[in-house]
Symmetry: C2
Subunit: 222 residues, 2 copies
Amino acid sequence: MSTPRLLEIRQGVLSKNDRLAAELRQRFHAAGVFVVNLLSSPGAGKTRLLEETLRRMGTDLRVAALVGDLATDNDALRLARSGAPVRQIQTGDMCHLEAHLVEQHLDGWNLDDLDVLFIENVGNLVCPTGYDLGEAARAVLLSVTEGEDKPLKYPGAFVSADCVVVTKMDLAEAVEFDQRAAEANIASVHPGVPIVYTSARTGAGLDAWMEWLEHHRCSSHR
Amino acid sequence: MSTPRLLEIRQGVLSKNDRLAAELRQRFHAAGVFVVNLLSSPGAGKTRLLEETLRRMGTDLRVAALVGDLATDNDALRLARSGAPVRQIQTGDMCHLEAHLVEQHLDGWNLDDLDVLFIENVGNLVCPTGYDLGEAARAVLLSVTEGEDKPLKYPGAFVSADCVVVTKMDLAEAVEFDQRAAEANIASVHPGVPIVYTSARTGAGLDAWMEWLEHHRCSSHR
């Protein structure tokens, strides 16, 4: 990303991705599927949050998930235990998902049979930011163990978020997490973005997260 | 990174980077500077470990640090408190450091006045992997809060490591960290790589880390 020629090619890939993402968004909307793109650092708890989300949501809605990783299908196996249809996308050495990978991995699924599709991106706070996957909403996770300064250091991800989910709140005391500092940092890069504080382990904040999802799902169908 | 043309350009950037990194490595070697490249996810504790390392090492050796981030100079300010010369490299939207950025930020420093230079890479387990910075050794950090499966999910980083530093061991019990599983996963992608278990908060394992650094510093001058 350091040369003008590389930048030009990168912009080409991005605009091709944007076109495909726009087509996907139309397909999702026509089929009435609410699509959420989950972004975070490695190990911030995307899969764990998604396990709880699929379990809770699965009782009322038809939910599925696509899961991106460089290697392994560990996360797909974990999530499949919820009973929801889940597919792993292995990206090899690519640090993000792209719209064409999402499109490929939808093959054989009837979108009309789904209400909600989660896309768990590759664990990375930089690369996935610029790649639209046709989602209706983007949630960026920040675990309390990462430190309150991450919104300042990775502003792109937090600027693009429709919701910031603070995770692992059960560890907040142990790591001396400064909630006011985190809130101020998030607000300084993205004023007004909703913040939900959660712990998948204790269940704290999961109701608020489910409410945020349900609110956005409903308004996306208007 | 998805089209043959982009791949070709990327390889061109990499080989240009490799040439410059080889030149840097010669300069470092000629000046007797031991250079360590630190890689990890965001928030795995690179800066915290480096604070302790600079403080301990600074009593005997002339140490400096370059610190990469997309934005902010928070880390440089933190590290400068050690009294060591520190410079921040702001990468904008680039998810890794490159050799030319290292070279630029050495400007005005006399390498003959240094014994050890740490380069703290951008927090990212994917992108920095392929970019040689002319370092003599590469340490990859894995915090216990990220989960034991990260070596399997980000194999490239762990394959490239000369040492794996497990961090935040003071939280191991709280997050039910499975040390045997982590060890098995690291060994499966990089058999025989040394693993050091540390807590910058309690000081546990820092002696072993300092010993590993000193051992490699000495052997790099042979």
